[in-house]
């Protein structure tokens, strides 16, 4: 098997230890084409290398992983982004959802299943960890009626809650008597809806703090 057939991965991470850990899990099935630890280098290298998927940390030198997504998507819309963070701060989750991240895992759960999650994202899946599902429910709970943004539907809420309870996508599918594909479809819709809600929430927050929001 040549390296050509392996999916090309780029890693954005400013912690050397974490980078080594991620590399360790991905060394076998993937072609790690590059690494960077700050926003400027990441954007330039990703545009140059055009990987299939970028694994990115949220807090990096010179800004946020969300900035990398925004800037890369301006020129290369097709690259997938899977976030890996230690953050348990809800604002961070909102930032990533607002820029349309493909998947979101908290580092606590990273281990032998990381390659599966990367493959899942490459195939159009939207992996999230149970902690992220908890934040998703918090964000939904904070959507106000006057914002004009839709809440999650009953089914979407149920799916997010089962994931927060520790169910895998397969177990969610089994519990709700639907297919895994349908579970993934629900997660995609949840991401889309909460991306809108997060953008709204973040701009309201910026407004409150007197920051000028220059929306593209």
């Amino acid at each position: 098997m040549g390296a050509v057939t392996k999916p090309r991965i780029f890693i954005v991470e400013d912690e050397a230890l974490s980078r080594a850990g991620v590399l360790h899990f991905l060394a076998e099935g993937f072609d790690v084409v590059g690494e960077a630890d700050n926003v400027t280098d990441s954007v330039a290298m990703i545009r140059n290398l055009i990987p299939d998927l970028v694994l990115l940390d949220l807090r990096i030198k010179g800004g946020s992983g969300a900035d990398v997504i925004t800037q890369v998507r301006e020129t290369h819309a097709g690259i997938k982004f899977l976030a890996l963070t230690v953050s348990t701060n809800r604002r961070d989750v909102e930032r990533l959802l607002s820029v349309g991240v493909d998947g979101y895992l908290t580092k606590g759960v990273i281990g032998a299943d990381l390659p599966d999650r990367v493959t899942e994202t490459l195939n159009g899946g939207r992996p999230i960890s149970k902690q992220v599902a908890g934040f998703v429910l918090d964000i939904d709970a904070d959507i106000t009626d006057e914002s004009g943004i839709d809440h999650l539907t009953g089914r979407q809420h149920e799916v997010a809650r089962l994931i927060a309870r520790g169910y895998t996508y397969r177990e969610v599918a089994c519990a709700l008597d639907i297919s895994v594909k349908t579970v993934e479809k629900h997660i995609t819709l949840i991401f889309d809806k909460l991306g809108v809600a997060s953008r709204h929430q973040l701009s309201a927050l910026a407004y409150e703090q007197g920051l000028v929001e220059t929306d593209p």
């Binding site: 348990t88 606590g108 759960v109 149970k130 902690q131 599902a133 908890g134 429910l137 918090d138 709970a141 809650r161 927060a164 309870r165 520790g166």
Partner: protein
């Protein structure tokens, strides 16, 4: 340093006192005029009484309007009220001449208009009003040929305009400066409190991390011990942060995390928790957390796996907890008087409902719902 806050005049606390002063001066000036007018019929037979009493009536209406409007600061300081008041003052001030009276009988009415202007606007406008009224009076003195010396008496308007306008402006400026200083002091205090909290958080995190690192160095050769220490550090940090983030002195969330820590330490399992919300801890919620503890201990002791999932929605009016393991489980039909049954019995004592679902080989999930 202190920036004067942009507070409208009528929202300043001193505004009440100024309004009272305006009303008081108007009433006193009206009394002054009323006393003079009362003597006109007996001392000034040549005066037109209809014009005289007409002017008095107009001044009375002006005073009544001022007293009524003083309850609505926005109206008292509105341009239309001040312009109407100035027009009334000019008519009243002209009334001696119009009535052909010998002595001036308008008393202090025009003076009170200068005070109204000082209240509604500022020193500059009070001066404009004072000058207008002074020139008007000088004109009246010239027409009536009353002489230069009494005419110069009108300069009292200017003196009054300057002093009242200056005092009002200064009181307002001082008040704004005081409010700005108080705001700044409050900000400094808040910043101080934030700083103290940050330092305490930093100290606590520093101490606990350093302790763990020291222990890790000593036990570096023992992988189990290293894993345990790392996990314990993670828990400690999470708990410290929860305590700092929680708005409650005694937090349900911090308590539940503490319970998890105890169980992890005693039973050497890992409890992977997602907790949402928080509430103030009381005897009732403490009892409900007791149920969660029992469910967690059961999972730790009997499931045969080393990871337990915990999901909790914590709210003042509702605690909803799920405890789940992927362990050996049991056949619900086979259990007659097992552990789970004990949990259900205990739940009814605290008015919570417990739902246990399990399948042999598939793990167990316990749902605890408390909605008092």
């Amino acid at each position: 340093m202190a920036q004067a806050p942009n507070i409208p005049n009528h929202d300043l606390p001193v505004d009440r006192t100024l309004r009272r002063f305006v009303v008081m001066m108007r009433v006193m000036c009206w009394v002054w005029m009323a006393l003079l007018v009362a003597f006109v019929p007996s001392t000034d037979p040549g005066a037109n009484l209809i014009v005289t009493f007409g002017a008095m009536l107009l001044a009375t209406v002006g005073m009544g309007a001022t007293i009524w409007v003083a309850q609505h600061p926005r109206v008292l300081s509105s341009t239309w009220f001040v312009v109407s008041d100035a027009a009334v003052a000019l008519i009243v001030a002209s009334s001696t001449t119009l009535a052909g009276a010998e002595d001036l009988f308008h008393g202090g009415y025009p003076i009170s208009t200068i005070i109204v202007t000082a209240y509604a606007f500022n020193l500059r406008f009070a001066m404009v009003t004072a000058l207008t009224l002074a020139f008007h009076q000088i004109g009246v003195h010239i027409i009536d040929e009353r002489g230069v010396v009494p005419a110069l008496g009108s300069s009292v308007f200017i003196v009054l305009g300057i002093s009242v306008g200056w005092v009002f402006d200064n009181l307002r400026t001082q008040e704004r400066a005081r409010i700005a200083a108080e705001d700044e002091l409050q900000q400094i205090r808040a910043a101080q409190i934030r700083h103290e909290e940050r330092s305490e958080l930093a100290n606590r995190l520093h101490d606990s991390v350093v302790q763990t690192l020291t222990a890790l160095r000593q036990d570096a050769g023992n992988p189990d011990r290293v894993r345990y220490l790392a996990r314990r550090q993670e828990r400690q940090m999470r708990q410290t942060i929860t305590e700092f983030r929680s708005p409650f002195a005694r937090s349900v969330r911090a308590r539940l995390e503490h319970i998890c820590d105890d169980i992890e330490d005693v039973h050497r399992v890992e409890i992977d928790s997602v907790l949402r919300g928080d509430a103030s801890l009381n005897d009732d919620s403490e009892a409900v957390l007791g149920l969660a503890r029992e469910a967690l201990v059961n999972a730790a002791k009997h499931s045969g796996v080393d990871t337990v999932d915990l999901y909790g929605e914590l709210d003042d009016g509702c605690i909803h907890v799920f405890v789940r393991d992927r362990g050996r489980g049991f056949d619900p039909a086979a259990v007659v008087d097992g552990q789970e049954h004990e949990l259900v019995k205990r739940a009814s004592a605290v008015e919570a409902s417990v739902n246990v679902s399990s399948q042999a080989g598939e793990g167990t999930e316990v749902e605890i719902l408390w909605e008092p």
